[in-house]
């Protein structure tokens, strides 16, 4: 277990030294929050910012996971992974350290977005609510970062990964419940949105905002995360023997 944190520490040090990188992933969600959250003339609610904020928090996590998915692939391409694999530390700690780094980095970025949302007037100040929201985002982050790390590891090619990234990240966001409630969507979109795992995370946060504990969606996310993580371990083991 300790080894996992050392691998994670390495990634954090590297990340904090790259200055552009630290800020760049925050631009897109901040822009959504300001230009869409504040500006869009919406009739179904009188506080669209409160409605869209959970979607933007999840979008931040989504972006962080997609960006981080390539990290292990780069470690492999650049030769770091070979050195790590020849060390006596349990090999899975490389994978777990990476997933944990991507998720925690995502949570840090989400926090910045959360602060911006609160400054703009969203209502998120209840500590119990915040704790619950972070738990949901953490599980969602584990799910997506294991998935994207595995995809990248399978592809072994940065261009293909970037193409997949561009192809699915925005559609995943638009076909979720991020921008409007299900009853405002056309039927075909509502059907897609109910299948989309991104909606699960968003709906869970909205339920928490409304004071309901979202047992079903929460368990759904948790089971999903565990399954994807197991798959990720299997692929990692196969890719490194």
């Amino acid at each position: 277990m300790r080894r996992m944190f050392y691998y994670m520490e390495r990634d954090f040090r590297r990340w904090l030294r790259g200055r552009v990188n630290v800020v760049s992933t925050l631009i897109l969600p901040a822009a959504w929050l300001i230009f869409v959250g504040l500006a869009l003339p919406i009739r179904f609610t009188d506080n669209y910012l409160d409605f869209i904020a959970p979607g933007i928090l999840v979008l931040t996590m989504l972006g962080a996971s997609f960006q981080g998915g390539a990290l292990l692939m780069f470690d492999k391409i650049l030769g770091y992974l070979q050195k790590f694999l020849a060390m006596p530390a349990p090999r899975e700690s490389i994978l777990f350290g990476k997933i944990l780094f991507i998720t925690l980095r995502g949570l840090i970025q989400t926090t910045v977005i959360l602060v911006i949302a609160i400054l703009l007037g969203a209502h998120f100040l209840d500590p119990v609510l915040l704790l619950a929201i972070y738990t949901v985002l953490f599980i969602f982050g584990i799910l997506l970062s294991s998935l994207m790390t595995t995809v990248a590891l399978k592809l072994e090619d940065h261009d293909s990964y970037a193409a997949i990234n561009a192809m699915i990240s925005m559609p995943l966001f638009f076909t979720s419940s991020a921008l409007m409630p299900y009853d405002q969507m056309p039927d075909w979109l509502a059907a897609l949105a109910r299948l989309n795992p991104v909606s699960y995370a968003i709906d869970a946060i909205r339920d928490l905002q409304a004071g309901i504990f979202p047992t079903a969606t929460f368990l759904g996310l948790l089971v999903g995360a565990i399954l994807v993580l197991l798959m990720s371990v299997t692929v990692f083991r196969r890719a490194t023997v």
Binding site: R3, R14, R17, G79, A86, P88
Partner: protein, 318 residues
């Protein structure tokens, strides 16, 4: 028990035999594995470092089997692959401390300092690796590899891409490690470096080790004197008795002979008679390059010389 022992170690990728029944015993020495590109050097190292599972056979490192107990093997070894993988955004010290922690060394900071000092990097330890030269990065990798005091060190092309001073320095460090009792397994393309630094050498071609021995022994047993002749034209005749064609680069032909001085004259006469214009003749003692070329052959021959005829002679000798 030798530090590294392999018995029938074999790796096949589909129908390609990358490493073919390797039998080696290496102990407290610098062993250099030499071979052309794609001959199986890196595959061998990867099997010995437990990164690749052998198709057949086995190897032991300090008595631990790479197939049966890979974890114990990894406790005893360090592996420095050829692609300079150190984090440029971290300082030298951070790079080494990270390895010390992952290895589970009791006092990672102090151990890292010692390793950095041993590699003459103490004064630059707090600079970002981005500012390091190639030679310093390689030394930093050695420092990383040394933090857990391994018994066996695997180095894949340790001096590739370094300048002359950088190379010499790396070899000095490798020799110093051997003198402290470490077993070093190294692959390289640089024959002169292998000649100076390695205690024993194995030459591998198409996955088979075709010769092992000290550089001196290989030079005397595999090669005789070398005659280099610069000449133009095409050779059509028979070569004199006891002469073996080694290879050709541009207009330079190399032959292996018993008594260099006499055979050189005879050869130049034979070539002139065979239709070539001889411009210069020189005789020298064999180097490891010649041993290598004699055993492995040259992949890049020009066709103006009657290559097929000499290939036949070469094969008849082997």
């Amino acid at each position: 028990m030798a530090a590294i022992e392999t018995s029938g170690l074999t790796k096949r990728f589909g129908s390609l035999v990358a490493v073919d029944r390797l039998d080696l015993a290496i102990d407290r020495e610098i062993f250099g594995l030499l071979g052309p590109n794609g001959s199986g050097k890196t595959t061998t190292v990867k099997m010995l470092t437990t990164l690749l599972a052998p198709t057949e056979g086995d190897a032991t490192i300090c008595g631990h089997s790479v197939t049966g107990n890979p974890l114990a093997v990894r406790e005893q070894i360090s592996y420095v692959p050829q692609d300079m993988a150190v984090d440029p955004k971290l300082t030298g010290r951070e790079n080494v401390i990270f390895f010390a922690k992952v290895y589970g060394v009791p006092r990672p900071r102090e151990t890292a300092d010692e390793a950095l000092a041993m590699m003459d990097l103490a004064s630059r330890a707090d600079d970002l690796v981005r500012t390091y030269s190639g030679g310093m990065r390689r030394r930093l990798e050695l420092a990383q590899a040394l933090v857990h005091d391994p018994e066996v060190l695997f180095l894949d092309e340790p001096t590739i891409g370094l300048d002359v001073a950088g190379r010499r320095r790396i070899w000095e460090h490798i020799i110093a490690l051997k003198n402290r009792g470490m077993t070093v397994f190294v692959t390289t393309h640089y024959m002169d470096e292998a000649d100076q630094a390695c205690d024993r050498i194995g030459i591998i071609d198409y996955g088979r080790v075709v010769a092992t021995g000290t550089p001196a022994a290989l030079k005397t047993t595999v090669c005789r004197d070398i005659v280099s002749i610069r000449a133009d034209g095409t050779f059509q005749d028979e070569l004199p008795e006891g002469v073996t064609f080694l290879g050709r680069t541009d207009d330079e032909l190399r032959f292996e002979v018993d008594k260099g001085e006499e055979a050189g004259l005879a050869l130049s006469r034979a070539l002139t008679k065979g239709g070539m214009t001889v411009r210069s003749v020189s005789v020298r003692q064999p180097t490891l390059d010649d041993v290598f070329l004699a055993l492995v052959g040259e992949q890049d021959e020009t066709e103006a010389f009657d290559a097929r005829r000499f290939r036949r002679i070469l094969r008849g000798r082997a």
